[in-house]
């Protein structure tokens, strides 16, 4: 698989090089965004800023930099059910990227570093895209490599690695003057310590109750995701969009994601509404309650690996200001969006509830609210 991918990449790059120059692609616009984000749900609050600045240099180079933080306060079911107490932590992420334009080809490279007191993540990526057929088609291909370090705040000696590779192929296609479609295929493979060192599984003990032991995950995971996206311009100025993603991995998780969205401009404001539905099956080695200690080689009780669905309803608005320019600013927008998400687990029980027979606790569910407030300027 990897060898074919590399071979195809080389051929694709060579053919792009041979054909580059006929029609000019366009670099991303110069803009800056300042965003405040908030997630509140399941007794977890995550807030913080994200600042993104993009600037072009000459006709063929564009650079961007992003600063992002998560400030987490968590008393989630995963923390409380195992007897731990509420904790707070921060995650800081820096990214830089560069785009180089040559004819109708754009080559992009990026590096991201994410740091928190018990996890460090690094990702470097390279991608290339080309406009074809008089700019009706855009094809992109990309590769990313990640190297992370997993630590444990309760054990100074604990340090494990995770390596990750990502292969991506994308296509966007203008179908008619009112309809555009996109398709993406992404294969991700991980190797290393893939579970969360703090999380545990529960098993039935000999006295009729249950006890906890550390999770044990496989040390490799390979996943494939394929998505189709479409957007249609309605007879009045508005857009109707839809997407579907199929996901499968070698832990036997299959997931489907559906989304429909509607964008409606009104004077200086663009309104947006969306509905997203997500459903997944559980991993092979997942169980809410194992029959006895060490009952399997691999054991997981992360609710993220269980069978569940989530539904999201989101609304947003974007107000345009300085549309005729103001000083060095060409235009700007003030934006707000809120998503209401409900999570319903089909095989993850609320172990905080005391019952006589383990495994008969109510199934867990919770609601979350996700807020984004941001200002964007173009210059």
């Amino acid at each position: 698989m990897k060898r074919i991918f590399i071979k195809l990449t080389c051929l694709f790059l060579l053919s792009m090089y041979l054909q580059a120059g006929a029609v000019a692609a366009v670099l991303p616009e110069d803009r800056a965004d300042a965003l405040y984000h908030s997630y509140d749900g399941g007794d977890v609050e995550v807030t913080g800023p994200s600042i993104l600045v993009r600037k072009s240099f000459g006709q063929s180079v564009s650079m961007s930099a992003n600063y992002y933080t998560d400030s987490v306060t968590s008393a989630s079911i995963d923390v409380i059910a195992t007897g731990a107490s509420e904790y707070t932590e921060d995650r800081t992420q820096y990214s830089v990227s560069g785009d180089y334009l040559h004819g109708n080809v754009i080559m992009s490279a990026s590096y991201t570093n994410s740091d928190e007191n018990d996890y460090e993540g690094n990702t470097a990526s390279f991608s290339i895209s080309q406009d074809l057929f008089g700019d009706l088609t855009n094809v992109s291909i990309g590769y990313a490599v990640g190297w992370d370090t997993v630590m444990d705040n309760t054990d100074d000696t604990f340090s494990e690695d995770v390596d990750r590779q990502t292969f991506h192929v994308g296509l966007s296609q203008i179908i008619t003057k009112d309809f555009i479609m996109g398709a993406n295929l992404e294969v991700i493979t991980d190797e290393g310590f893939l579970n969360n060192p703090y999380r545990s599984v529960r098993y039935l003990n000999t006295s009729g109750g249950y006890s906890y032991q550390k999770e044990i995950y496989p040390s490799t995971r390979t996943s494939t995701a394929f998505s189709l996206t479409g957007k249609y311009y309605l007879p009045y100025r508005a857009a109707l969009g839809g997407s579907y993603r199929f996901f499968n991995d070698d832990w036997n998780i299959t997931a489907h994601t559906f989304e429909v969205n509607y964008v409606h401009p009104w004077h200086d404001v663009i309104f947006e509404a969306k509905f997203r539905y997500y459903t997944q099956s559980q991993a092979d080695f997942y169980s809410d309650l194992f029959p006895f200690m060490d009952s399997q080689n691999f054991m997981g009780r992360d609710k993220e690996l269980s069978d569940y669905t989530s539904s999201t309803f989101g609304i947003g608005a974007s107000y345009a200001f300085a549309e005729n320019g103001f000083g060095f600013i060409e235009k700007g927008t003030i934006n707000g969006a809120v998503d209401f998400v409900s999570f319903d687990y089909n095989n993850f029980r609320d172990a905080r509830v005391n019952v006589v027979t383990p495994g008969t606790e109510p199934l867990y569910s919770f609601n979350a609210t996700v807020i984004r407030l941001f200002v964007s300027i173009w210059y």
Binding site: S15, Q19, Q130, L132, N196, A225, A255
Partner: protein
């Protein structure tokens, strides 16, 4: 030989011989910002992170990021 054939095929694909069926002057609707798949990258990257931290599914959504912040 197969590689040469594939290269020739890809070169043909990328050549400008195909007549665009939607002319440049017919693309006003497609070029409207409301038709963009990702109008605001900073907002979309954040939402992608929210999904990845809570769902087993990953990939084929767009930009990439690192870390978790999801305990």
């Amino acid at each position: 030989m197969r590689i040469v054939s594939l290269l020739a095929f890809l070169s043909l694909l990328t050549a400008c011989g195909v007549e665009p069926w939607v002319k440049p002057y017919e693309r006003a609707h497609i070029a409207d910002p409301i038709m963009s798949f990702s109008r605001d990258p900073v907002s979309d990257a954040y939402l992608q992170h929210v999904h990845e931290a809570r769902e087993a599914a990953r990939g084929a959504e767009g930009s990439s990021g690192g870390g978790c912040g999801c305990n």
